[in-house]
Every structure is written in C-alpha cells, then in structure tokens.
C-alpha cells in the first residue's frame, strides 16, 4: 500500500478566530502574572505564620505533644487579630490542642503587647512558669 500524506487546511476566518482566542488567553496569562506578583509582594505572609514557628519554638519544645492546653491573649475577643493569633498558634503547636481560656492545667499566653504577664496570670488563677519572650508565656493553674 503506498504511503499517503494527509494535510488539513482551515478557512482563514477560523484561523483568525482561533488565533484571536489564543491571544486573548495569553493576555489573561500575562495579566494574571502581573496581578499575582503585585499581590504577593504587597501581602508577604500577612498573618506572619512562618514567623510563629520561631516565636513559639520555646513553647513547642516545652509542651508535650499529647497535651491539651488552655489559651489566653490580650487581643480583643472576636477580632481578626485574635482569630489570626489563635489559629496560627494552633497550627504551629499541633498536635497539641489549644482551648480558649484558662481551662487546662497548662495555659499558653500569647500576647501582642508587653505587659506584667505574672500579674495577668494571677488575675486568672495562673502561675507564670516560663517566659519565652516576644509575648509567649507558659502558665500553670495555681493549686
């Protein structure tokens, strides 16, 4: 059987339409790249989650993995700051389980401003056990 070469030729209108569609898509790709780069430069780790691994490093090694621990903070309850601080701390400290309030034997203090942490603990029936710096402290329930 003799070999055959088959070639296909599209009408010019089809070629033009398809090329326009391709150019539109490429416009979208370049626009996406520009938009995404600008966005990421503007909002580099806005909740500073990566930094929490260093900040909470002391607490991470001091609290056993299986522990369920209480959690207190100076961030306004229900605020975005409070939710961000709590959830990023939970993410870094997992599988340790955080519970809001002084509700366990061990309580993590996660503060956004410097303060007399021992006094803050005493007001909630807690004794300061360790201050890891940068607003991270570990309390224990007073007997």
């Amino acid at each position: 059987m003799p070999k055959q070469r088959i070639s296909e030729h599209y009408p010019k209108a089809v070629i033009a339409g398809v090329v326009i569609a391709i150019l539109l898509c490429l416009w979208g790709s370049f626009a996406s790249y520009g938009s995404e780069s600008d966005l990421q430069q503007q909002y580099r780790d806005p909740y500073m989650v990566s930094a929490q691994f260093t900040r909470l490093g002391g607490a991470l090694s001091a609290i056993p993995e299986g522990a369920g621990i209480g959690y207190i903070t100076d961030a306004p309850p229900g605020s975005g700051l409070e939710a961000g601080m709590f959830l990023s701390a939970q993410y870094v400290l997992a599988p340790r389980l955080l519970k809001r309030g002084a509700v366990a034997e061990w309580v993590l203090g996660n503060f956004s401003h410097p303060a007399d942490f021992a006094a803050v603990g005493r007001s909630q029936g807690l004794l300061l056990q360790q201050d890891f710096g940068e607003g991270v402290v570990l309390f224990r329930k007073a007997q």
Binding site: Y10, V14, A21, I22, L24, L26, S32, D45, Y47, Y91
Partner: protein, 459 residues
C-alpha cells in the same frame, strides 16, 4: 523535600492504575490519551492514597500497612503495565498535524509557564498558603500526621467552627500521609499537591475535549482554563477548591467519554474533599439517571468507596461537629421568605463572576471569540445539556445554601463565593467547548512518491 517523593509516588501509582484499568487505549490522538492518563492518574492516585492512609493509618492505626499496600500495588501495577505493553502500531497513513494545533500547543505551553511563574511568586511569599490552608486543611493534616489517638484531633469539636472539623479529609489526609511517610512537615508537600491538581485539571480538560471534539478545541479549552486569573489565584492558596474543581471536571470528562466507573471515582473523591462535593455527587447521580440512564449504576459503583469513607466520617466520626446546613435549619423558613436575601445573593453572583478576570481581561472573552467564529454544533446538544444541567443544579444548590445560611450573608458571600465560582468554572468551560463546532478543515491527501522514498532511504 523528601515529602515530594511521596507526592510523586502517589501520582505514579494513579497513572499506572488508570493506564491498566481505565480502558483508554482507544482514545485518539495519542497525546490526548496520555494527557487523560496523567491527569486522571494524578487525581485518582492522590484520592486513593488519601483514603488508604485515612482508613489504615488514622482509623486503624496501621500506617505501615498503608505504606506496604501502596508499595505493593505500585510494584504490581508497574509490572502489569510492562507485561501488557502493546507493540508500537505501524501507521499506514502519515497524517500531517495542522499548523493550528501547533499554534494552540505553543500558546498552552506559554500560558502554563506564565501560570507557574505566577504561582511560584506566591510559594515564595506565602509558603504556608492562605488563611484556610493553615487554619483548616494543613492544620488538620498536622493532627492526622501525628498518628495514634492524636489523629482524632483532626475532627475534634474543640477545634471550633472556624476550623470546620466537620469537613471531609481528602486533602488533609493526603498531605498528612506524605508528611508522615517522609517524617517531615515540609511546606513543599501541600504546595506541590495543589499544583498537581491544577496540572491534572488542565490535562483532563485538554485530553477529554481533544478526544471528544478534536485536538484544536482540546488545547484551546486547556488554554482557556490555564489563563483564568481567578483559578490561578487559588492554586498557591492550598485550599480544597482546586482539588474539588479537578474532581468535578474529571467526573464530567469521563462521563462524556462513556467511562462511568471512572466518572464515579472522581465524584466520590469530590465528596471526600469538601461538602460541596457531596452536593456534586448527588447532582451527577441525578443528572446521569435522567440523561445517561445506563451509566448510573456504574457511576454509583465507582463513587462508592470514597463516598462511603465520607459518609462514615460525617455520620460517625465528626457527628459532634455541626455542619453549615444543620446550624442553618432554625429560622430557615424566615430566611427563605426574605426577598432581600435573593437580591443580595444574585448581585454577589454577578459581581464575583465579573471579578473573575484581571483589569479588562475576563476569561469568558476567548470563549465568546470562539463561539462567534465556530458557532455551536446542534448534534452535541445531549452532551451540552448534560454539562449544562450539572452546572445549573450545582449553582442552584450553592444559591440555596446562601439563602438558608444563618451566618452573616454579606461576610459569607465575600469570603467564599469567588472560590465557589472557581469550582464550577471548569465545568462551564467544558460545557462550552463540548457544544462548539469542530473547526472545519479541507483535507488534502497526497501520495508520497515511492522513488522519492527510496532515494531518502538510500541516503
């Protein structure tokens, strides 16, 4: 970085199984076949290993068994593919690939390179992903990766509503598996998983449309998706919306290709990925029962394993956590009768749809250009109706949830509707491309002179 080895292993396992069992060897052109095998392999491999790790590792506490089964199946599937490899076919006719296919392929490669560059800027700036990644999906993966009784914390009511401990666990369980097997919590694992789902989505749409409607439309459909700004933004977020979009599109592609078991596997995986996937499973079964009646049992059989894990998780393990619908039941009648909610939700749907682009670009523009030039094919009404019914019922379901919810409506629409549209967008693109006319071409057959062929051989 060793976690990436386990991501690749899951994808390889999926590719071998799909190559062996999906019966895709008849799909033409060959690149479309391989595109489907790789796309389906990545999504099925991730889904399968996620289910296996959750069942053996998290529920039964036998991680070594999950690892052993994976490696054994990988070795067996690899051997089977090697044993059954077909001899290379001898083509009687040499078909010249049209220039338009090359142009579309180059366009797709450029778009994928730009997409990867855009995604990489985010990997660098936000390696932990966006809010829901570290507050929900990767947080729960850290619990699951810890093993023993600690894994159960992934669905503990103590986590609170903001962590959605009631959400299914396909993504978290897969990330946990790769972390556990590699003994590290590398941020590369969730990032690579999300990227793999993006590439799988592109491969499935390209291969599926190429097999159904020809290579030009296949490549253009993939290009339209790879250049959708809202879709690209979701890839580095490390949320479950990208995997869900991939499972939706895969289920529909295989339903259209008359591979109902594979379609069911994708729909089952969607149900094990996110609550919206449960709605999708119900919708695809209903629409298949109405329009492709003979395929419904096979679809159901394919969906059963992953859907069963999702049901076990929802009904028994996470029953202490209230879901969005159950918390929305009190006062639902009052909200349903509130006409203002319909207006607010409709306006938000319109606003978010127009916001899927960047600047003056909107991803619907290339589709409009093609629809104007190629127009629609009446003979594809059935496939278009199937895709259209799925999109319609899905959007109706989402709309109903927004009307019913007792959460602050404005906040919920702002924080979730853009992602919901990203889940559905690939299905809309599929519906559009399935209905388009194939570019009509004039075929010219030229015999290759035997003398010229002999001269070439002699040289």
């Amino acid at each position: 970085m060793t976690g990436l080895i386990w991501v690749v292993e899951a994808i390889l396992l999926g590719c071998l199984l799909v190559n062996r069992f999906a019966g895709l060897s008849v799909v033409r052109p060959a690149w479309a076949r391989w595109s489907l095998i790789c796309g389906a392999g990545a999504a099925v491999g991730i889904g399968l290993t996620s289910v296996l790790f959750f069942f053996c590792g998290s529920l039964l506490g036998m991680r070594a068994a999950a690892l052993g089964i994976e490696v054994a199946v990988l070795a067996w599937a690899g051997y089977e593919v090697f044993r059954r490899r077909a001899p290379a076919p001898q083509p009687a006719k040499k078909k010249q690939t049209p220039l338009l296919v090359y142009i579309a392929a180059i366009g797709l490669l450029v778009a994928l390179a730009m997409a990867t560059a855009a995604i990489a800027t985010s990997w660098d700036a936000n390696p932990q992903g966006d809010w829901d990644a570290w507050a929900i999906w990767n947080l729960r993966a850290r619990f699951l990766a810890s093993g023993g009784a600690l894994a159960q914390r992934a669905w503990s009511p103590v986590l609170g509503r903001s962590t959605h401990a009631e959400y299914p666990l396909l993504l978290s369980s897969f990330v946990a598996r790769s972390w556990a097997f590699s003994h590290s919590f590398s941020t590369a694992v969730p990032a690579a998983t999300s990227y793999a789902f993006f590439l799988a989505l592109i491969a499935l749409v390209a291969g599926g449309i190429a097999a159904l409607r020809g290579p030009v439309l296949g490549l253009l459909a993939a290009l339209a998706l790879a250049s959708t700004p809202a879709l690209l933004h979701q890839v580095p977020s490390q949320y479950a919306d990208m995997p869900l979009a991939c499972y939706f599109a895969g289920a529909i592609v295989f339903a259209l290709l008359d591979r109902p078991i594979l379609a069911g596997i994708f729909a089952g995986c969607a149900a094990w990925t996110k609550d919206e996937g449960v709605l999708f499973l119900a919708v695809i079964l209903a629409v298949t029962a109405a329009l492709k009646r003979r395929a419904v049992l096979a679809t159901l059989a394919g969906a059963a394993p992953a859907a069963a894990v999702a049901v076990i998780f929802k009904m028994w393990l996470a029953r202490g956590n209230a879901g969005l619908l159950s918390t929305s039941l009190p006062g639902a009648g009052k909200r349903l009768a509130d006409a203002g909610r319909y207006g607010v939700t409709l306006a938000a749907f319109g606003r978010e749809f127009t916001g899927m682009g960047v600047g003056w670009y909107h991803p619907v523009l290339p589709l409009i250009a093609l629809a104007v030039v190629l127009r629609f094919d009446r003979e594809r009404r059935r496939d278009a109706a199937y895709c259209g019914a799925l999109v319609g019922f899905l959007l109706l379901g989402y709309f109903g949830v927004y009307i019913l919810t007792n959460n602050d409506l404005t906040w919920l629409l702002q924080s979730s509707l853009n992602r919901v549209l990203v889940q559905v967008w690939p299905v809309l693109v599929l519906a559009g491309f399935v209905a388009l006319r194939v570019p009509q071409s004039a075929v010219i057959v030229k015999p290759v002179p035997l003398a010229a062929k002999a001269r070439r051989k002699a040289r």
